[in-house]
């Protein structure tokens, strides 16, 4: 039995459908992420799990028991708020002790568990400090400690890294992974940052306009996006409009305005089906001459733009007919004679199994 089961949940605000018939199950011990752009319904879903909102239709079950009508304080679910929401009039220790006090734990147990939890988040020295005396990263840890201290069944994290600067974010990501593994509490993490979701999660539900677009492991989401939205939202991608033409040379052929393309197709794709070939830029190869690319899919063109990012460079290559292919090349590749310049005549190509055909 799943730890949390969301069954056909809908939530409307006036005419806006914030969450639209969402069903998903979260297993105990998972690091589960709800990923999507602003307004996709992920926070509304989170608030319904926490008990701050109730669905219009559908049901939520925790450990098989329905959550409807149970007040937030009665749910074994805690939230790490985006703003941290630390009580400003209590010390760090006071904040962490709060849920234990509300649960009516004895004083010695509270003191012991507060101490343990403080050391879990490496804040042993800060117990007597007030929230306004802490840095952003430290506040973050206190919020985590407060949410974890009485071992909830579920810890909900609402964009908890949003307020941190880039470097601190990465550090906290590593800590979050370790923390979740150490305490064994199920995490439901909400974010709009796809990199963060990919780095942290066991499974991700990508949401758009209130619906779950795809629920999968991070690598499956990245390599086999099920929809244009997912393909486009996660990472950089080339989307080439195409139609299934048929079988040739052991793999399937796509017809596109650029020309025929060889690809691995989903087994149920029938000739005539329309869609797009999704192709990650790092799987596109770039060469000076067409002949050096021994690939079925290859096109001559020239470098239209390039974006140098230090370790990698993103080339935008315009091929015949005005089509544009993005290619990401590592600058440290051995044997690379030189970086291409804007205007250079080049050729691009990719293996037949590099792209994924997305129908629709």
């Amino acid at each position: 039995m799943a730890l949390l089961e969301i069954r056909n949940v809908t939530r409307r605000f006036g005419s806006l459908v914030a969450v639209d018939r969402v069903s998903l199950a979260i297993e105990a011990g998972e690091f589960f992420t709800l990923l999507g752009p602003s307004g996709c319904g992920k926070t509304t879903l989170l608030r319904m799990i926490a008990g701050f909102d109730e669905p219009d239709e559908g049901e939520l079950f925790l450990d098989g028991k329905p959550l409807a009508g149970i007040a937030p304080e009665k749910r074994p679910v805690h939230t790490v708020f985006q703003s941290y929401a630390l009580f400003p009039h209590m010390t760090v220790a006071g904040n962490i002790a709060f849920p234990l006090e509300m649960a009516g734990r004895p004083r010695e147990e509270i003191e012991r568990r507060v101490r343990e939890t403080l050391s879990l988040v490496h804040l042993e020295e800060k117990g007597e400090a007030y929230p306004h005396e802490l840095s952003g990263g430290q506040k973050q840890r206190v919020a985590l400690a407060r949410g974890l201290v009485n071992k909830p069944r579920l810890l909900l994290l609402d964009e908890p890294l949003g307020a941190l600067d880039a470097k601190l974010r990465v550090e906290m990501q590593v800590e979050l992974i370790n923390l979740q593994r150490d305490v064994g509490v199920t995490f439901v993490f909400v974010t709009h940052a796809q990199q963060e979701a990919l780095a942290l999660s066991h499974r991700i539900a990508v949401m758009s306009q209130g619906r779950v677009e795809q629920l999968d492991t991070p690598d499956r989401l990245y390599t086999a996006p099920a929809s244009r939205f997912v393909a486009d939202f996660i990472g950089k991608i080339n989307l080439i409009e195409a139609e299934v033409a048929g079988n040739a040379h052991g793999h399937l052929m796509l017809r596109s305005a650029m020309g025929d393309l060889a690809a691995d197709l989903p087994p149920d794709a029938r000739p005539g089906a329309r869609g797009a070939l999704a192709l990650r830029p790092e799987l596109v190869r770039v060469a000076e001459r067409l002949e050096t690319l021994e690939l079925r899919n290859r096109f001559a063109g020239h470098v239209k733009d390039l974006l140098y990012e230090g370790d990698v460079t993103l080339y935008t290559v315009e091929v015949e007919g005005g089509f544009v292919i993005e290619a990401l090349l590592a600058n440290a590749s051995p044997g690379r004679a030189r970086l291409f310049k804007v205007g250079d005549a080049v050729a691009v190509g990719w293996r037949h199994d590099a792209g994924v055909f997305i129908r629709g």
Binding site: E73, H78, S83, P88, H89, F98, M102, A103, Y130, G147
Partner: protein, 260 residues
Amino acid sequence: MKPRSQWLLWAASLAVYGFLYVPLAVVVIFSFNDSTLNAEWVGFTLSWYRKLMTDGEMLRAAGNSVAIALLSSSVATVLGAMAGIAMHRYRFPWLPLLVLTPVAMPEILLGVSLLLFFRQVLDLTLGFFSILVAHITFSIGFVAVIVRARLAGMDEGIFEAARDLGATPWMTFRRVTLPLILPALVAGFLMSFTLSIDDFVITFFVAGVGVTTLPLQIYSMIKVAVTPEVNAVSTLLMALTLTLVIVATRVAPDIVRRGR
């Protein structure tokens, strides 16, 4: 800014400060003047204060003022806090109108409408109760504004966080909301107390003949004549409000700082 215009600004400002303080200083100085006429300085005396202490009417009025101020500010602090929380949290569009209009309109209007209400509708003998009710009515808005301002500066998330971590609505109020608005409550209480003990206009209309307050007593005295006894009571009243202001600015910030 150039030194010349800086100098001008200071001169103008000092003149305004002078305008604010000289009259009050004169009142205080002449309260110690050994002469029945407030005309020229004769010599130092405390006799006006001594006279004040034996003036039964004045003492009764002072007693009434303090009793009404304590009671009305206590009630107004509770009701005003509720109104402030309600304005902040529930956003009924009509609520600020109801709560803030009594503060914004000329006092005389509240005075006459309460006079009409008490005499004509309730057929009440004016006195302690009518004054008390009037003072509560105009104090609620001030407390509400202070409490709302305090809440507006706060992260809304902490109230949800408390619920999320297992606190019932009542526990959330006791452990989170109340401690956080405490400085506003102290400030609101002190403000209501000062307003009540100082109020003349509204009290004037709803006091009737039986009960008098300090401002009413001062009014009846200065209508008749200028006597140093008025200077003495004014000075004492100033000392009291000054103390309250100092308490408000010294004590309240300490609580505020803790609450940040």
